[in-house]
């Protein structure tokens, strides 16, 4: 059976060393560049006409914008719109990397914990900086919920702090684990087809069954690829909302 982990191997394409820092151009970096080129190219090509009655491509770009703008307005209110560029970038970047990863043979950047952790830590630091810059020490009200009896307040505060600090962990592992487990599952079911075909006699007839399963799982993976990008941006909105309005 082929090794299902093999597809996540980071290959060094162009070795590069900048003042002792290993800045090798890997296949991971290549797919990140590809996704950026795809996003920028698609959006610029789609909106080049700026027609009042949008063409089909332009309406795709417009509905993407509206989709994220509505999400931001619903969760953070009108003042959240200054974070719109950040959140729109997150959504499109993660969505494109997930979708590029669904091409057979392509590398899935979001299946690397280093990438998703970097994104999640960026969100965490943004929440901290915005929270303290906007509310000062009032941001600490986030850890002291209203209407809690005074004798359980220390316990509740400790739990709130722990849940706040563990946010980047769950935020990054959710995206990473979904993409990793999904791609391994696809590979494992693909391996079952090969194993059954090389088996003796009547077992060969069973080979279409895992193939059907793999096809259904591919459809599920496309759904997951979109949903996880959506969930990541949605959680980013909720965390930034905490930074803007800490009293809850």
């Amino acid at each position: 059976m082929p090794d299902p982990i093999h597809q996540f191997e980071v290959k060094r394409l162009v070795p590069l060393d900048i003042f002792g820092v290993d800045a090798t151009f890997t296949n991971s970096a290549l797919f990140m560049v590809l996704s950026v080129v795809t996003i920028v190219g698609l959006l610029m090509y789609a909106t080049r006409g700026r027609a009042l009655v949008p063409s089909r491509l332009q309406s795709i770009a417009e509905s993407l914008y509206e989709f994220i703008a509505n999400m931001v307005r619903d969760s953070m209110g009108e003042q959240g719109m200054k974070f719109f560029p950040l959140i729109f970038t997150f959504f499109l970047f993660i969505l494109t990397m997930n979708m590029l990863g669904m091409i057979p043979g392509a590398f899935t950047v979001t299946s690397q914990l280093a990438v998703t952790a970097a994104l999640a830590i960026l969100v965490f630091i943004t929440v901290l900086v915005v929270g303290f810059a906007k509310n000062g020490l009032g941001f600490l009200k986030l850890f002291v919920p209203d209407g809690v009896p005074i004798y359980v307040l220390p316990l509740v505060s400790i739990i709130e702090v722990i849940s706040f600090v563990s946010r980047p962990l769950s935020h990054s592992v959710r995206l990473f684990a979904n993409m990793l487990a999904g791609h391994i599952t696809l590979k494992v079911f693909g391996g079952f087809v090969v194993m059954l075909l090389s088996a003796a006699g009547a077992y060969k007839a069973l080979a279409p069954l895992p193939l059907l399963m793999a096809t259904a799982l591919t459809a599920l993976e496309f759904l997951v690829a979109f949903l996880q990008a959506y969930v990541f941006t949605m959680l980013t909105c909720m965390y930034l909302n905490d930074a803007l309005h800490p009293g809850h």
Binding site: P4, I5, Y230
Partner: protein, 74 residues
Amino acid sequence: MDPNSAKLIGAGLAAIGTGAAAIGVGNLFGQFLQGALRNPSAADGQFGRLIFGFAVTEALGIFALLIAFLLLFT
């Protein structure tokens, strides 16, 4: 115990977690349908929240599956 067989047993135990996530997802859609049939006009507006809850719940099952895979293949 042979470490390899311990790994396989561990992977099997980790896979139980996916069953627990299945309970959660079933609960989620069951409760949604119950609410949706009581008030069908409000159901469409909650679809986004349903999908969001599904993704968050399903992720926990995926964590368990990930541990099983890591034990099996690394």
